[in-house]
């Protein structure tokens, strides 16, 4: 029996009292593969920041059942990576071991094999000693996926992982997402490619600040729902009244 690993109770997330995710209810079961779809400004990234705990809810709550912040691997949309920093692909991927190694733990032979395996799994073998600044956008994303692999967490949160990435790279990285799903990890991914979602993600949350629909992908991504999501404007009203439903 699958238990809900993540449950949102009337969740509102936002910035300076303005909601970016408004009154969201629902749950993601353990091992589910959930796509979060919606136009730009729909609150996908905001929702993920809430899930990983870097943004406190304005109202409502997020219930994480037995999932600690350390059990979530998070790939942000715009990684704040200083690409001019002189560090190799190998060292960068190795940081995925942080949960087990911490500040002082040594990286032994077994760990080195794990690092090499992760680099091989994303097709970057031969790039180990390259400085990260020499990687292309797609290679960079492959490297970050290798780090996610090593993090070996129960839950993985991917914010637009395939944006500005070519078809071959997204296909390769999608294989990893499917592998995580087979391994019964919970995966949440914000995506724009509707066909890709239909083909690979069993569950979808359609978000346009307010949740439009949440459930099996084929039901959620109906023409009606998608049109509805598009109509919901990206409103940010400076003089908005306090939300009545929150009272």
């Amino acid at each position: 029996m699958n238990a809900a690993e993540l449950r949102f109770h009337n969740l509102t997330l936002g910035y300076e009292r303005h909601p970016a995710v408004h009154h969201l209810d629902g749950a993601a079961e353990k091992g589910s593969l959930l796509a979060v779809v919606g136009p730009n400004g729909a609150g996908k990234s905001t929702l993920f920041k809430g899930v990983v705990g870097s943004l406190k809810p304005l109202a409502g709550s997020i219930e994480r059942n037995g999932v600690d912040a350390r059990d979530i691997a998070y790939l942000p949309q715009i990684a704040e990576i200083d690409r001019s920093f002189p560090i190799s692909v190998y060292d960068m991927v190795a940081m995925g071991l942080w949960n087990r190694k911490g500040v002082f733990g040594s990286i032994g032979g077994k760990d080195q094999h794990a690092i090499e395996a992760a680099i091989a799994a994303v097709g970057l073998t031969g790039f180990e000693q390259r400085a990260i600044g020499t990687l292309s956008g797609g290679q960079m994303q492959r490297m970050l996926f290798a780090r996610l692999l090593l993090q070996d967490t129960r839950m993985i949160v991917l914010d637009e992982p395939f944006t500005a990435i070519d078809a071959k790279t997204s296909a390769d990285l999608l294989d990893l997402v499917r592998r995580w799903h087979r391994e019964k990890r919970t995966v949440l991914a914000a995506l724009h490619d509707i066909d890709l979602v239909k083909a690979n993600f069993p569950q979808t949350l359609l978000l346009a600040r307010e949740p439009v629909a949440w459930g099996p992908t084929k039901d959620v991504l109906s023409a009606d729902n998608l049109a509805k999501a598009r109509r919901m404007c990206e409103a940010f009203d400076e003089s908005a009244e306090a939300c009545v439903a929150a009272a």
Binding site: A79, D82, F85, P86, I87, M95, N99, V103, A131, I132
Partner: protein, 289 residues
């Protein structure tokens, strides 16, 4: 002949030996810190902090005269105060941290020079501003060596979070809370090394032995470990060559050391294998793959 030029000054004169040991100790501790400052685009922060130390050291001087511990203690206290103060003001007001540091260090420099002049004479003032590496006593030597030791040990302890905070602070925050403490420890190292350098090179030049070799190293290495090795090597050579030049040409030693480091920097800008000008100007055929 070669012996007389390169080795005799250090063998014959004790003050030259002390100066050499002192500068070698500085060359071990300060450049690695400088490499991190450079990589975090904080190169000018070191400059600002070095100035900030001056009024603290000057107050120590006012209270206890030319006492090492009073001046070093005052310098450390002032350095930490400015580091924390600039951070707090940056957080509390719309002012960016570099702007508030700029304000702090100008005030500090003026205040420090004023304080020294109240009690001391121009010789004291020159000592404060440019140091006197040839007058290092045992106590100062111990202090500089102690700071270099602590510096290298602390750097080894905070290495992993410090590197990760520079490359990918967001990721570090998601896996660990060690980023904040590592940053504070690092700022402490900056202040400590500047106080150490202050004994030998004064408040205006202390930052030179920290930053110049670090910036030079960028032209010689692609990874951070090599970079730190090159920086330490550059600082050591600069110290040795600078002392020799100051001895033979009868020039002030602090500026001679920093000028030697500056020469290495200028040479590296032109000839350095990583991005040196000469390699950019020389067309070479591209590779097959």
């Amino acid at each position: 002949m070669l012996y007389a030029v390169l080795f005799a000054p250090f063998i014959e004169f004790e003050f030259m030996r002390r100066a050499l040991v002192g500068i070698f100790a500085l060359a071990l501790g300060a450049p690695p810190v400088g490499v991190f400052l450079m990589l975090r685009r904080m190169s000018l922060i070191g400059d600002a902090m070095a100035h900030a130390i001056l009024p603290g050291a000057a107050i120590g001087f006012l209270v206890a005269g030319l006492s090492l511990f009073a001046m070093a203690g005052g310098g450390l206290a002032a350095g930490f105060l400015i580091a924390v103060g600039a951070g707090l003001i940056a957080r509390a007001t719309p002012l960016k941290e570099d702007a508030s540091l700029a304000a702090f260090f100008l005030i500090s420099l003026a205040l420090g020079v004023t304080l020294v002049s109240v009690k001391g004479n121009n010789v004291d003032l020159l000592h404060f501003l440019f140091g006197s590496v040839l007058a290092i006593d045992d106590l100062a030597l111990m202090l500089i060596a102690g700071i270099a030791t602590v510096s290298l040990i602390v750097l080894a302890l905070i290495w992993r979070p410090l590197v990760l905070e520079c490359v990918d602070a967001g990721f570090l925050r998601s896996v660990s809370r060690s980023g904040g403490p590592a940053h504070i420890a690092f700022l402490a190292l900056v202040v400590m090394n500047l106080v150490g350098g202050f004994q030998a090179l004064g408040t205006l030049l202390a930052v030179g032995i920290m930053m110049l070799p670090a910036i030079t190293a960028r032209f010689w290495a692609r990874d951070i470990t090599t970079m730190i090795g090159v920086a330490v090597g550059c600082a050591t050579i600069s110290g040795y060559v600078g002392l020799l030049i100051s001895f033979h040409a009868d020039l002030p030693s602090g500026p001679a050391i920093i000028l030697a480091a500056g020469t290495l920097y200028a040479l590296s800008v032109v000839f350095g294998p990583v991005g040196g000008l000469i390699w950019l100007a020389m067309p070479r055929r591209h590779l097959e793959a």
